[in-house]
């Protein structure tokens, strides 16, 4: 059985005097230990809300969460608050996009990390301090003894993100959720952080949920990829399969619209028309259909269901891209 099982997860924001917003709508996926699963999509696709729902970090008021999130078979969504707080931090932790606002500015880095270990692993302060120094070294922060005493504003952006990852790793979590962990960083620093995450997954067997909008990051880190659009998974596949032959027009559109380092200059990009505001509700049909170049009349009449099309591959589309491209366009492998 998978380490983390997400089934039919839905999140609705209910506000007075405003229409209810369905941010996440029936999302299901598995995460195995030592594997990285990507949640990919553009702003407003529900990828961050999904991760917050899994972590139990959504505000209670005004949000309705339904479905199931099982860690090792234990249902997390129905755990009592206290028990959930205990497991979060010990079994699951999260790395956010903005390391500056995620760290407490008035508490030294070292104290923030060792507190987590004192609380969840029952270490004495002394032992925890020692462990914190080891962790900082582990995530590639030079001179950890000195850094432990520093405050978040004294560290550079890359250092802060490393410190945040160190804090997330403090309890050797079995599931790590990384929400756009490198978006705020420069490319050379991004490369360092992604490398660190790859090593961690390989060495500790932590399951990593990677949330990103960057297809390049996905291609370099994720084993399995879930593409989200307007709160639903539209395509889900193993990484090589997905990039070699996207079947959903949205996935294909995303890939065609990104400029790449290895394509010659001057090739015209093929953008997706419109923007994410141009959706129809999923209840009326495919939310992507107003922007879709392959849309058929039924796309705006009947909601497409997500269906398995082959082992490990799921698709939600009435008129998917044919498979032919895959056999011809893969020279090696």
């Amino acid at each position: 059985m998978a380490l983390l099982q997400v089934r039919d997860l839905s999140v609705r924001f209910v506000r007075k005097q405003e229409p209810t917003v369905s941010a996440v709508d029936g999302v299901s996926f598995d995460v195995q230990a030592g594997r990285t699963v990507g949640l990919v999509g553009e702003s407003g696709c529900g990828k961050s809300v999904t991760s917050l729902a899994i972590m139990g970090l959504l505000p209670g008021r005004g949000t309705e969460v339904s479905g199931s999130v099982r860690l090792d078979g234990d249902e997390l969504l129905r755990l009592p608050r206290r028990e959930l707080d205990r497991r979060r931090g010990r079994d699951m932790s999260m790395v956010f996009q903005d390391p500056l606002t995620s760290l407490n500015p008035v508490v030294p880095i070292g104290v923030q990390i060792s507190e987590v270990m004192e609380r969840h692993r029952g270490m004495s302060r002394r032992v925890a301090r020692g462990e914190a120094a080891k962790l900082l070294e582990r995530v590639g922060i030079p001179d950890p003894g000195r850094r432990l005493k520093e405050y978040s504003h004294q560290l550079s952006g890359g250092m802060r993100q490393r410190a945040l990852i160190a804090m997330a790793l403090a309890c050797e979590p079995r599931v790590l959720v990384a929400d756009e962990p490198t978006t705020a960083l420069d490319v050379t620093i991004q490369a360092q952080i992604l490398n660190l995450l790859r090593e961690l997954v390989a060495e500790t067997g932590t399951a990593l949920i990677m949330i990103t909008h960057d297809l390049g990051v996905v291609a370099g880190t994720c084993d399995e990829v879930n593409v989200l659009y307007a709160g639903r998974i539209v395509e889900s596949a193993e990484r090589h399969e997905l990039f070699a032959g996207p079947r959903h027009p949205y996935t294909a559109g995303l890939m065609a619209s990104v400029p790449r380092l290895d394509t010659p200059r001057g090739n015209r990009l093929a953008p997706i028309s419109g923007s994410v505001e141009d959706n129809i509700p999923w209840e009326d049909g495919c939310a992507f259909s107003p922007r879709c170049s392959r849309a058929l009349p039924r796309c705006s009449e009947r909601t497409p269901e997500i269906e398995p099309i082959e082992a490990g591959r799921w698709l939600r589309c009435h008129n998917p891209i044919e498979e032919h491209a895959r056999n011809t366009e893969r020279p090696h492998d």
């Binding site: 553009e42 702003s43 030079p142 550079s156 952006g157 890359g158 250092m159 420069d186 490319v187 050379t188 620093i189 991004q190 490369a191 360092q192 992604l194 490398n195 909008h213 960057d214 297809l215 390049g216 990051v217 996905v218 291609a219 370099g220 990484r239 090589h240 990039f243 559109g253 995303l254 890939m255 065609a256 619209s257 990104v258 400029p259 790449r260 380092l261 290895d262 394509t263 010659p264 200059r265 090739n267 015209r268 990009l269 093929a270 953008p271 997706i272 028309s273 923007s275 994410v276 505001e277 090696h332 492998d333």
Partner: protein, 366 residues
């Protein structure tokens, strides 16, 4: 303050090493040893200068008419300051900015304002760069009015519709306000606004980095179509090397206020010579698992030094995997020409290229 308006029109006011050139092959923009240093001030009542931020520190480059120059670098490298200085939104500390034969570095006041018609800017943050209180129509008309190009109601209206259709917006957008548009549409408004005054040079500072991936391509295509149609010259500033690769004819790589490498786009991406460019290119994620799994990465250690306290010698020496003690930490390398139009500021560029210098592998993984 000395005003040197009018004088540059004589042509000879600008010393030119290559002698008198025909306007046709004269570059539209030429920067010579441009420096922009910001004072760090402290003090309660009277400000005292306690140091300098060397935001741009000796950059020389040329941008040919009708071409696109891509400026890449990481945050804090001075690329945005350079862009603003080219447009004279910042004052250069020294060096010259020559636009079509006119040295703009000392022009100010009304003559400068009038020159702004010829050079325009496209911003990164589409929401904050458009006045929230103005409708699209008044935002677009404003430029025309400022430069006396507002020639009667009928003609202006026609011109506005023309502009909107050039950037792919419907005429109904005229009466709307910036917050009513999506990010991509707002960027189109920003582009239309810049184009309204018929500029020759457009400086685009991170024009697509705030936009959703699927929308970035739309805006990049609009920029290209406009260049083809109006013969615009672009200076595109971006941290995303893939975007620059896609749009630029010539690319300059900035690090800590200086240009470390400059070449034609294909040349630079295929044969990067400077260690920083090589590291940068190897760090950009490529949306292709086959490439990602097999590529060599040069992982740089550490972070960018502070531009207020740049290291001695080569600015990149603190992070360079090929650093040679006794040389790199002593002498600042000047840009040298290696191959046609390919300039590199590195003491050991050839040896690194030929693999003759040990050390690089220490920073390489896989």
């Amino acid at each position: 303050m000395t005003e040197t308006t009018g004088e540059p029109n004589s042509g000879s006011a600008v010393p030119d090493g290559a002698g008198a050139q025909e306007p046709a092959d004269r570059p539209l923009v030429e920067l010579r040893d441009l420096r922009v240093h910001f004072p760090i001030k402290r003090g309660v009542l009277l400000d005292r200068t306690v140091g300098w931020v060397y935001a741009v520190d000796g950059v020389s480059l040329r941008i040919d008419r009708g071409s696109t120059y891509g400026l890449v670098g990481e945050s804090g490298c001075g690329k945005s300051t350079l862009g603003k200085t080219v447009l004279r939104l910042e004052k250069p500390s020294s060096g010259s900015i020559v636009l079509d034969g006119t040295d703009m570095s000392r022009v100010s006041g009304e003559p400068l304002r009038r020159m702004r018609r010829r050079m325009q800017m496209v911003f990164q943050d589409t929401l904050s760069s458009l006045d929230p209180r103005q409708s699209v129509e008044s935002l677009l008309v404003e430029g025309l009015r400022a430069h006396g190009m507002d020639e009667g109601r009928g003609r202006t209206e026609r011109r506005l519709r023309e502009l909107l259709s050039a950037v792919g917006l419907p005429a109904s957008a005229l009466r709307r306000y910036p917050h009513e548009f999506s990010g991509g549409q707002r960027q189109r408004v920003g582009i239309a606004r810049a184009l309204a005054v018929e500029p020759e040079l457009v400086v685009a500072d991170e024009p697509v980095s705030a936009l959703d991936v699927s929308v970035q391509a739309q805006v990049l295509n609009v920029l290209r179509d406009l260049q083809d149609e109006y013969g615009l010259t672009y200076l595109v500033i971006a941290h995303d090397l893939a975007v620059v690769r896609h749009v630029a004819d010539r690319v300059g790589v900035m690090y800590l206020g200086g240009l470390v490498e400059e070449a034609d786009s294909d040349e630079l991406y295929e044969r990067p010579l400077h260690p920083y460019t090589r590291a940068l290119l190897s760090a950009v994620p490529v949306p292709d698992p086959e490439v990602e799994d097999s590529r060599e990465r040069i992982l740089l250690s550490g972070d960018l030094p502070s531009p207020a306290d740049p290291p001695a010698g080569c600015p990149f020496q603190t992070r360079c995997p090929w650093r040679q003690p006794g040389v790199c930490d002593v002498e600042r390398p000047e840009p040298r020409e290696l191959g046609e139009g390919h300039r590199v500021a590195c003491h050991y560029a050839e040896s690194i290229r030929d693999g003759a210098l040990p050390g690089g592998s220490a920073g390489t993984v896989e």
